[in-house]
Amino acid sequence: MRILTLVRQVLDAEESVRIRDGEVDLNGSKLVVDTMDEYGVEQALRVRESGVEAEVIALAVGPERNQDALRTVLAMGADRAIHVMTELMLDPIFLSQVVAQVAQNENVELIFCGGQQADWDSHALGAATAERLQWPQITWTNGLEVHGQTLTGKHDAEDGSETFSVELPAVITTQQGLNEPRYPTVPNIMKAKKKELRVETLEQFHIGPKLKFLSAEVQAKTRLHKILDGKDAPAAAAELVRLLRHEARVIA
């Protein structure tokens, strides 16, 4: 079985976002593999380690620096990697077209992708990929088992959980709790150097995104520095309530 696991490189959650010339400036910032995608990689490795004959292929679509993320995933244990190089910012619906094509070219039967992309937060990529391939998907997965061609997945519901089963091929979107992703060990980092990292260009796919990115800005927080005179406490309290209700409009 071939498993495709999607890898996106995002800004570390601890880093602050900087904007230069209308674009997010990642220069000098710490970039990491999207945590949600890490769950997918880990789960793919666990499927392989459970005794299923499987090859784990990592896929990244983006600029050259994405190869750092792919190397991390190869060092975690993925068998090989494909990098579709592009400088364009891609929306999930377009991205799903690339993912679906790669999945077909590689004869993949199972796709893992992060349930919630740290950079777009659209939750659409898994669904759109499944739709394009006409495959079923299990979403928000936080528990998964593979028996032959059957997958059994679980996800949390309001006050408990729900369990589903599908026959392969299928798309699985992940969420926190699915597993505890491993870190690459030093020996595996060294082995990863010898693994295949195939670079392709977006042009080879003969498709282009319809959504164009225009600009980004960071919301500037400015303080109003309004200080209420507290000598007359009841009057100050009344004034505060009035300001919160009518100016800030945070209470009804």
Binding site: P184, T185, V186, K193
Partner: protein
């Protein structure tokens, strides 16, 4: 394992930085890390931040089960096998990688010390001097963290004068055992170690080393010390009372234990510097994050100049530490690169080549420990009253940093080594220091000469560096002229000369690193300028101290004239530079380039 970047690094001899000028491409910098090294660094950071950091309270309470568990985990990740040969379960990788791990793991002083004591002084004696049987028996266990190692040299009455140990070893009449008697003090990892490297004198005179397993009858680990800092690390005395050590556990040869004791120190010293970088970055980040949130006079305190000054000085200090440590460790790797590691004398050759950098290792040790000390003090100060209470990590960083000026050879001993080693090499004719001194003397005697003009953004810093080298040579010449071989007894002068030599190496490392970045980091250029100004002030103070103590009357006036001529330079606007550096660091919320 070879790193492609190291191939271009120039092979240099120890101490040559004072008399030779290198080009940026001759030195190794952090920007030259290979993908593999970056990936290993990332794994180490993940481990340190996600597994070690949450356990800091338990570590600090001396819960050694937690520490041992984390060391075991580090072993599983391969982080403790870097310096161990492949045939004994190790990875036999380069020294930059091993320094990088020491750097990234140092988010907690106590854990960092336990880790370093294990992989450095704990494991390396066995790697370098162990017999095949000893390595077979112990090395794989140490590389995986299944066993913890400890190194026992110091005694209550012998610290810096390590050769004066009193612990005795006597061969039993049947020739099967050595019987050890004595007491060791301040032994790192003692409370959790499975294997001790213990130094003793056979028949009261032959300095030797022994491998002793925990639980050996006659070996008792004393109570934990109550320490100022690194409280979560284990530090105990060891008591040896008729302790029977099998003869096969003699490490190396009888009477040659001092090679083991001293050669290990060079590695310990550069690794200490690497760990200081990690500790400094951790304290720096916590300090900045606090200061960004702290409002006074309705503004975050990071907007005030005297706060910015501390951030700038600390940030530039980290930049300089990185430049210094990785340059030297990269140079060590370059010198080990084409070594045949399977040759029978390979381990001796490795030590010899590392020993070549003894003076640089001592400089790293002294300079990084003191820079870290200043940084943790400044970061604590940013916290105001909160810095003085245990609720914030600033006070722990402050306490933990202090030990670095004491262990791995006190900074006093290391300052004497720095100047003494250079002088010794000069006398032996192995370092062309005397001709260089002569050239400076000739130049100053010839009267004022036009300043060497360099182009480029760091032209002024190059001029400062050239002056720094000349001043150091001039002062070294003046001091040796006055005292000759007796200079070694003038410790204050030796210390001042060491300060000058250190600043030359650090300043040069920052300049070359920045130039190698080719304008990619405007911040690096600013920190280089900021640091060079500070560095030169240190140099001037030290130079005056040397000249004032070696000359008087007309001679003093002449030498001061020469000094002023050599030291002539324009003032840099360090206030403006400092503000720029602080704003960039504050925006990033951590050390950044």
């Amino acid at each position: 394992m070879s790193i492609p970047a190291a191939a271009t690094i120039k092979r240099v001899t120890g101490g040559s930085f004072l008399i030779e000028d290198l080009r940026p491409e001759d030195i190794f910098t952090l920007e030259d890390l290979s993908d593999v090294q970056k990936e290993i660094a990332r794994t180490t950071v993940e481990f340190a931040e996600k597994q070690v950091q949450p356990q800091i309270p338990a570590i600090e309470e001396k819960n050694f089960e937690v520490t041992k568990g984390l060391l075991r985990r580090a072993g599983e990740l391969g982080l403790m096998a870097i310096d161990v040969p492949e045939e004994y379960g190790g990875l036999a990788m380069d020294k930059v990688t091993s320094a990088l791990i020491s750097d990234k793991i140092a988010v907690c002083g106590s854990f960092s010390v336990a880790f370093s004591a294990h992989v450095g002084i704990g494991t390396l004696p066995l790697v370098w001097y162990g017999s095949a049987a000893q390595k077979e028996k112990y090395l794989a266990k140490l590389a995986t963290g299944e066993w913890i190692a400890s190194y026992a040299l110091s005694e209550a009455s012998s610290g810096s004068d390590a050769m004066n140990i009193r612990t005795q070893a006597t061969l039993s009449s049947d020739g099967k055992h050595y019987e050890l008697n004595g007491e060791k003090m301040w032994i790192s990892n003692a409370g959790m170690a499975n294997l001790f490297t213990v130094f003793a004198k056979v028949d009261g005179e032959k300095f030797s080393a022994f491998l002793i397993e925990a639980g050996t009858p006659g070996l008792t680990v004393g109570p934990e010390e109550h320490k100022l800092g690194i409280r979560g690390s284990s530090t105990c005395p060891l008591l040896l009372a008729d302790c029977q050590v099998p003869v096969e556990n003699l490490l190396g040869e009888v009477g040659k234990g001092h090679h083991i004791a001293f050669n290990i120190l060079n590695v310990g010293r550069y690794k200490l510097g690497a760990a200081a970088i990690g500790g400094a970055k951790y304290a720096f980040r916590n300090g900045i994050r606090y200061a960004k949130e702290r409002i006074a006079f309705s503004k975050p305190i990071t907007s005030f100049g005297l706060v910015q000054e501390k951030i700038a000085d600390s940030g530039a200090g980290i930049f300089a530490m990185e430049s210094l440590v990785y340059r030297i460790v990269g140079a060590i790797d370059a010198s080990l690169a084409e070594l045949d590691k399977s040759a029978p004398n390979a381990t001796q050759e490795i030590q010899k080549r590392i020993e070549e950098f003894a003076v640089e290792c001592s400089i790293i040790k002294v300079w990084c420990s003191e820079t870290l000390d200043r940084l943790v003090d400044q970061m604590l100060q940013l916290h105001g009253g909160y810095g003085y209470v245990e609720e914030y990590s600033a006070e722990r960083s402050y306490r933990d940093a202090r030990i670095n000026k004491i262990f791995e050879g006190t900074n006093e001993i290391n300052r004497l080594i720095i100047t003494g080693w250079m002088m010794k090499r000069a006398m032996q004719g192995r370092l062309a220091l005397l001709p260089a001194i002569q050239r400076v003397m000739d130049e100053v005697m010839a009267g004022p000469s036009p300043r060497e003009e360099r182009s480029g953004e760091l032209a002024d810093q190059h001029a400062l560096l050239a002056s720094a080298k000349k001043l150091s040579l001039f002062c070294a010449g003046a001091a040796s002229q006055k005292y000759g071989a007796a200079l070694a007894d003038q410790q204050e002068v030796m210390g001042a000369l060491a300060d000058m030599i250190m600043e030359v190496l650090v300043m040069e490392s920052t300049i070359l690193r920045t130039e190698k970045m080719q304008g990619r980091s405007p911040l690096a250029a600013k920190m280089t300028k900021y640091y060079a100004a500070r560095s030169f002030r240190v140099l001037e103070t030290a130079a005056e101290r040397v000249i004032g103590s070696v000359a008087e009357g007309d001679m003093l006036r002449t030498q001061m004239t020469i000094y002023r001529r050599l030291a002539k330079h324009d003032a840099e606007n360090t206030v403006a530079l400092g503000r720029d550096i602080a704003v960039a660091m504050t925006e990033a919320g951590r050390y950044t380039l």
